[in-house]
């Protein structure tokens, strides 16, 4: 939308030309000019009215509340007053009841007390009771006395009645016989029992002995087996030692044989070297001889050829000289001279040849010598190598042998050690065996001591028993003697316990010395 198209908010209107503007007229207010005051008055009136109503309501509320609260309070107070009254009444009734109860209980207590007192006894009653009790006691005592008297009377009658006594004696005898028979039976039983016990003990002893014998036999067998075992072990060890020794010996022999072999080898080698040297020398000689022969042959051939040539020349010359006689003589002379010179020359040549030969020989010799030397060197080297090889082999062999020897020695040392250990073990074993034997011997000795002690104890017991018996016998003798004495005395002066009263009185009187006649 364009700016010009925006609806206007102002009252201004722009004209068609610049700076031309119109303002729309403003209509006058419809409200009266004092409407604000009027409005204000109206509001105030309304507020005042509302305030009046509120005040009136508050007053009414207050009145209502007051009435309500007061009513409730009155009601509450009434109720609490009533409740309090009731409670009080209740309490009063309770108190009343308590009082009545108290009275009732007090009355009851008093009544019970009275009754209790009434039930207690008086002095008179007590005296009467005591009297009664005394009477009762007296009666009781009298009754007891009478009973005793009756008993005594009965006893006297029993003692004095001959018939009864004889019957009683017979009965007693019967009883004694019966009991004696019983005793004998019991004794026989006991004997039998003791015999059975002894038999049982004997059986037990026999069994024990058998068991011991069996055990000893078993132990002996075990010991034998053990010894056998030890022996076997020792034999095995010995065989092992022997084998070791054999081994060592064999090793030594082998070493010797090896050394001999080596020596032989060396000898053979030397021999072969000698042979070879000789063969070489022969060869060289032959070669040189061949050389010389060939040389000589070639020389001879050369000489013949030279000679032939010389002859030819000479013949020519001779043919020339025949022509000329003087010349021939001359020639002859010359020839002679020539011949002589030739001869000299030949001799010289021969000497030279010889010298050369000698030189050649010398050279050949040198050569041969050199070759030979070379060959020798070669041989020496080869020998050296062989020797080194041999040495190596031998060293290895020796080493092996030495190792074997060392092993041997070690084995021997070990064997020695083992033997020592074995020896120690055997010693230990022997010692233990001895100790065991000593222990067994000691035990046996202890057992023997015990047995001896037991024997001694039994013997002593026997002696003591015998002593005791003897003493008892002596005592018996003594008692017998005493008894006899007493009997004699009693017989001599018989005293009668239960004397007749008449008789006792009589005796008493007589003792007091009243004459016998007075009593009559």
């Amino acid at each position: 939308m364009l700016a010009t198209q925006k609806p206007r908010r102002t009252r201004e209107y722009a004209g068609p030309t610049p700076h031309s503007v119109a303002i729309r007229a403003k209509m006058p207010s419809k409200l009266p000019p004092d409407h604000l005051i009027l409005e204000r008055r109206r509001h105030d009136d309304a507020r005042e009215e509302a305030e009046a109503v509120t005040k009136y309501n508050a007053l009414c509320d207050l009145k209502n509340d007051w009435e309500r609260i007061t009513d409730r309070r009155i009601q509450l107070n009434t109720v609490s007053r009533k409740v309090k009254g009731l409670m009080l009444e209740q309490e009063f009734t309770l108190e009343d009841r308590r009082e009545r109860l108290r009275q009732l209980l007090a009355a009851e207590d008093a009544q019970y007390l009275e009754e209790m007192e009434a039930s207690q006894e008086t002095m008179l009653e007590r005296q009467a009771k005591m009297r009664e009790r005394a009477k009762f006691l007296k009666e009781k005592r009298e009754k007891e006395r009478l009973q005793v008297v009756a008993e005594k009377l009965d006893q006297r009658w029993r003692e004095e009645c001959e018939e009864l006594r004889s019957t009683l004696t017979r009965r007693h005898m019967d009883e004694v016989c019966l009991e004696r028979g019983e005793q004998l039976r019991i004794k026989a039983d006991m004997d039998q029992q003791s015999q059975a016990e002894e038999k049982m003990y004997a059986d037990l002893w026999h069994q024990d002995m058998l068991a011991k014998a069996a055990r000893e036999e078993r132990e002996a067998q075990e010991r034998h087996a053990r010894n056998q075992e030890t022996l076997k072990t020792l034999q095995k060890q010995k065989a092992a030692l022997e084998a070791k020794k054999q081994d060592a010996k064999r090793l030594k022999e082998e070493e010797g044989r090896l050394l001999a072999e080596e020596r032989e080898l060396r000898k053979m080698e030397e021999q072969r070297a000698q042979q070879e040297k000789l063969a070489k020398q022969q060869q060289a000689r032959e070669d040189i001889a061949t050389n010389i022969r060939l040389k000589t042959k070639r020389r001879a051939k050369e000489m013949q050829e030279e000679l032939a040539l010389d002859m030819n020349i000479l013949e020519k010359l001779l043919s020339d000289s025949r022509n000329e006689a003087m010349e021939i003589a001359q020639r002859k002379k010359e020839l002679r001279e020539e011949d002589q010179r030739y001869r000299e020359y030949l001799r010289q040549t021969a000497r030279e040849d010889e010298e050369r030969d000698r030189e050649i020989d010398k050279l050949v010799d040198a050569e041969v010598q050199r070759q030979w030397q070379k060959r020798l060197d070669e041989w020496a080297r080869q020998r050296e190598a062989r020797k080194r090889l041999m040495d190596n082999v031998l060293a290895v062999r020796r080493q092996q042998v030495e190792a074997k020897l060392a092993e041997n020695a070690k084995a021997q040392i070990e064997l020695q050690k083992e033997r020592e250990l074995m020896q120690a073990a055997m010693d230990e074993h022997k010692r233990l065996e001895e100790e065991k034997l000593a222990g067994i011997r000691r035990e046996n000795l202890a057992y023997q001591d015990d047995l001896l002690g037991q024997l001694d104890y039994t013997r002593r017991q026997h002696e003591m028993d015998k002593d005791e018996e003897h003493r008892e016998y002596l005592k018996g003798l003594e008692a017998e003697a005493e008894y006899q004495a007493k009997l004699k005395e009693a017989l001599a002066r018989p005293v009668i316990d239960k004397m007749h009263p008449m008789r006792r009185a009589h005796m008493a009187k007589r003792a007091s010395g009243v004459p016998y006649e007075d009593l009559m």
Binding site: L94, R97, R98, R100, L101, R102, L104, L105, E108, Y112, E115, M116, S119
Partner: protein, 376 residues
């Protein structure tokens, strides 16, 4: 056993001051009769392991009440598996019911129960309606004798008891003898039915056949769902309370027998586990009158007690019964009234076997306190 035997229970105590029920873990050490308490909510030891004389192992069972330092604790649950395993068979519960024909001999039957080694955890004498009887015997509804049985059950008051003991269900059935009373007389002459039963229906007592039925029947009578109307007459009667010490010594049955033999009638009976506040309220008349008030309260709330409503002698019931009970101190009673209840069963002035209403005008109050206020 090498382990020290420690039984754990969840115990609840009603705190009067805060008016809330606080729960504790109660640990009982059988080796030396000591008790330890652990506050579950605050997670700390409430009572260090200490010896409590009046707590015995036999008193510890679910639903039982023990008294620790004057706090009455109700055991509501086993606190560990060991205790549960050890005690659930040992402390089995069963329902015993004395039928209308044998209610007059309930003293002898209760004596036999105590003699048989059972513990009576709960008991009350009630009157059931025909509907209740039908509901109770619902499993016999098809049997021909159902109608007769139901009519018989609704014909008079019955005594229901919750017995507890080592495999109580089978032991109680053994003590009851065969269902048919005539058969019982020939087979087990010393059984309850042989002694008190008449025939197959009127066979003196009922016992649960299994643990589950025992549970159900116990719940039927002692559960919280149902309110049972007791048989209290509340007029012309006096109140007798057999004290916990006498019950502990197994004398309750003999005391009841003696009461019935003396010509009194027991018109209502119920077992209560009194709390200290209840005991104080009950004995409020004696406060300040007798010196042994606090010991009396202590004794009454030390365990379960039987409350009996005694009638049968018209207007003179209260006086006659008081005469029959004898002086409060058994020593005096033995000297002066050797035939009275306290002379025979009492031990000392506190443990004097029974409490009876002293003031004649207190009789309705005390009877109403037990059978109206506490029973509801």
């Amino acid at each position: 056993m090498s382990l020290p035997e420690r039984y754990a229970f969840i115990a609840e105590w009603y705190d009067q001051n805060a008016a809330i029920i606080r729960s504790y873990q109660l640990l009982f050490y059988a080796s030396d009769n000591t008790v330890e308490m652990y506050d579950i909510k605050n997670r700390r030891i409430f009572l260090k392991r200490s010896k409590i004389d009046n707590v015995r192992f036999e008193d510890l069972y679910i639903g039982g009440t023990i008294n620790v330092h004057s706090r009455q604790l109700n055991l509501v649950e086993y606190a560990d598996e060991f205790t549960k395993k050890q005690l659930s068979s040992k402390k089995e519960k069963t329902l015993a019911m004395i039928k209308p024909d044998a209610v007059s001999k309930f003293g002898a039957i209760i004596d036999m129960i105590y003699g048989g080694g059972f513990l009576i955890a709960n008991a009350k004498m009630i009157q059931i309606t025909r509907k209740d009887a039908e509901e109770f015997y619902q499993e016999h509804v098809q049997r021909p004798f159902f109608d007769k049985l139901v009519r018989f059950m609704a014909s008079g008051s019955i005594v229901v008891m919750e017995l507890m003991g080592n495999s109580a269900v089978t032991e109680w059935r053994k003590l009851l003898g065969p269902t048919d009373s005539s058969k019982a007389r020939s087979e087990a002459p010393s059984s309850v039915r042989a002694k008190f039963g008449t025939d197959q229906t009127m066979n003196a007592c009922h016992g649960s056949d299994a643990t589950e039925t025992g549970q159900r029947e116990t719940n039927f009578f002692f559960g919280p769902e149902k309110k049972w109307k007791n048989t209290a007459k509340l007029s012309g009667s006096t109140c007798c309370v057999i004290k916990p010490s006498a019950i502990l010594e197994g004398k309750a049955g003999k005391i009841m027998m003696a009461i019935v033999e003396a010509g009194f009638e027991v018109s209502a009976l119920q077992m209560f586990h009194l709390e200290k506040a209840n005991a104080e309220e009950f004995f409020e008349v004696y406060k300040g009158v007798v010196n042994e008030y606090s010991e009396m309260v202590q004794e009454l709330c030390s365990g379960p007690c039987f409350a009996l409503e005694i009638t049968g002698k018209g207007e003179r019931t209260a006086e006659d019964f008081r005469e029959f009970v004898g002086p409060a101190d058994p020593e005096i009673a033995r000297n002066l009234r050797p035939k009275t209840l306290r002379a025979i069963f009492g031990r000392d002035k506190i443990k004097n076997a029974v409490h009876c209403t002293d003031l004649p005008e207190d009789c309705p109050l005390e009877v109403a306190y037990f059978f109206q206020i506490l029973a509801d």
